[in-house]
């Protein structure tokens, strides 16, 4: 197992009060597997990522029964140990590549920085060679001239490819991609995600792909985790979950995009009513119940994550889902 997370809970100081924003999140990522985490704003997926990377904001408290990356316990790491893990075993790419690249340095400079961090013995020639190699792997022109370009000369898609190249410099075991294509155009999205798939096949690294777009996750992830308001509400192999989801929220997400609904134009779409509860709000019972069409009395108690009978690798958190027949 590349990453093992057991009962991760994160509390953040909000308005000077510690509130629980992520509750009991448990999942594993195997080598070569793409885990897709789906959720909308306020679901806690970004906080979960930050907790795994050790980048929570000051004042945050995270607890977990287990948090291991390739066998290393991530819970009590010092800053120095974190520096050894990040950029070596663990790499990440974020949503807006333009703001992640330093505008004052050339691409070559920034690539070299990542390469040297991974392998401190490299000399200039070797660094350059490796840079070109990485650029080639991500589908950019492997020219020395390209190394001299600045971030502002690149389009969004190219910048994101550079970010991926930088992330790959250390041959990481785990790559966390937090909404890597949200800021990009539709056609570029397809290119970047294809690239990630290809790299996964080539290097066998584990990938956590986070997005609010379930269609994207459906198409590119092996396993899926659906998060709502700080909890996992459904998990399992993608094909299983999208074809026969048990949780009403997952079903809502799958059905409410206009592309999926084969309704005639100008007719009202099916939508999930209501809004996501404010982050950290404490609630009695199921957190999705206020918006759920199938809520009943039992939903006043908090449901646990239950493994499915038909697919042991999948689980969901819903009382109504237990008796659900497709």
């Amino acid at each position: 197992m590349t990453l093992e997370v057991l009962n991760l809970t994160v509390q953040l100081p909000i308005d000077r009060v510690l509130t629980t924003v992520v509750r009991d999140v448990t999942f594993n990522v195997a080598p070569g597997e793409i885990l897709g985490i789906v959720g909308e704003s306020g679901c806690g997926k970004s906080i979960t990522n930050l907790a795994i990377m050790g980048l929570l904001p000051p004042g945050a408290i995270a607890t977990a029964d287990r948090l291991e990356l390739c066998g290393h316990d991530l819970r009590q790491l010092s800053a120095q140990s974190w520096r050894r893990i990040r950029g070596n075993k663990l790499a990440m790419i974020f949503q807006n590549p333009m703001s992640a690249l330093n505008p004052s340095f050339t691409i070559g400079n920034q690539l070299a920085e990542s390469i040297r961090k991974a392998d401190t013995t490299f000399g200039r020639k070797q660094v350059e060679q490796r840079s070109l190699e990485l650029l080639d792997q991500v589908g950019l022109a492997s020219h020395r001239a390209f190394l001299r370009t600045y971030p502002h000369q690149l389009s969004g898609g190219m910048a994101q490819r550079v970010m991926i190249a930088m992330a790959l410099a250390c041959r990481p075991s785990l790559l966390i991609a937090d909404e890597p294509t949200t800021a990009l155009d539709v056609t570029t999205q397809a290119q970047i995600l294809n690239l990630l798939l290809r790299l996964r096949d080539q290097f066998g690294m584990a990938v956590i792909l986070v997005s609010h777009d379930i269609g994207l996750i459906e198409e590119h992830a092996d396993r899926i985790l659906v998060m709502y308001s700080g909890e996992i509400v459904e998990s399992g192999p993608t094909a299983v979950v999208t074809a026969s989801s048990r949780h009403p929220y997952t079903q809502g997400l799958l059905s409410c995009s206009p592309a999926r609904q084969d309704l005639p134009p100008k007719t009202p779409l099916a939508a999930i009513p209501g809004v996501v509860p404010p982050i950290g709000q404490s609630m009695q019972g199921c957190r999705f119940a206020p918006r759920c069409s199938r809520a009943f009395e039992r939903c006043l108690t908090h449901p646990d994550l239950v493994v499915r009978h038909d697919y042991p690798g999948a689980a969901f958190r819903c009382f109504a889902g237990e008796t659900y027949v497709a």
């Binding site: 009962n7 100081p13 000077r16 510690l18 907790a51 050790g54 929570l56 904001p57 000051p58 004042g59 945050a60 408290i61 995270a62 607890t63 977990a64 029964d65 991530l74 819970r75 009590q76 790491l77």
Partner: protein
Amino acid sequence: MQMFNTIKLSKGGMSLGLVSSGVIVLLVLSFLVPLVVDLDPYRLSDNLRASIGLWNGSGPVLGTDDLGRDVLARLVYGARNSVGIGLAVVLVSMSVGVPLGLFAGVYGGWIDKIIMRVTGILMTLPNILLAIVIVSVLGAGLLTAMCAATVVAIPGFIHIVRSISALEMKRQYVHAARTSGDSTLRILWTEVLPNCWVPIVAQATLGFGAAILNIAALDFLGLGAKPPMAEWGAMLADARPFIESNPNLIVLPGLSLAATILGFTLLGDSLQQWLNPRTGVHQ
């Protein structure tokens, strides 16, 4: 369950606030104390030869200067003068600089170009030098020194306000205000100006310290306050011949000056931190 990732709150911000509040308190006291205690900064001593010295059991607590004047009294009155002068300079430069910066940022175009060129030129000239030039032209005196300090402080306000207003004009809610029918002047007043206050306040507190320093420098050079006015810069100048025999005459005004300027600078800093919604999270 094991705990991890607890990050301690930084104490730096709080100590800044403490120091600056201490200084402010002292300055406020300088206004109140003379109402209670009888301090006369101008009374000369009869016996000039024996007058200079430290506290010798009776008489002025911090000693007297070469003319027999009470040093403590002069420090206190000097504080009042400094505060008053600093306030005047900051208020005037703010009332000139902020509108100019707003017009430059909001209206753009030629107004912006002209104002920024002039501001740029003024900012490249060293402050003290420019102040000296102005005073030399207008003639020495406290009023002209204050004018010089004001002129020197104005570009700072123009620059910061113009940057912010130019940025604000690009915001979507300014576009929305325009499509809601607001005129440009209205937008300036209701959308742009309220977002400028925080940096203006920070600039004003920093400017306070700078104004006091500039005036003190001019006084030291003899271009500002005329005797017998009690003012720290002038006290420094007067005390130069006695630097070896009575260092307290230089050290005390110098310390007061340094502490006041430091206090206001730190106040400006901690105000910026405090007003920034992202820092200052407590548990």
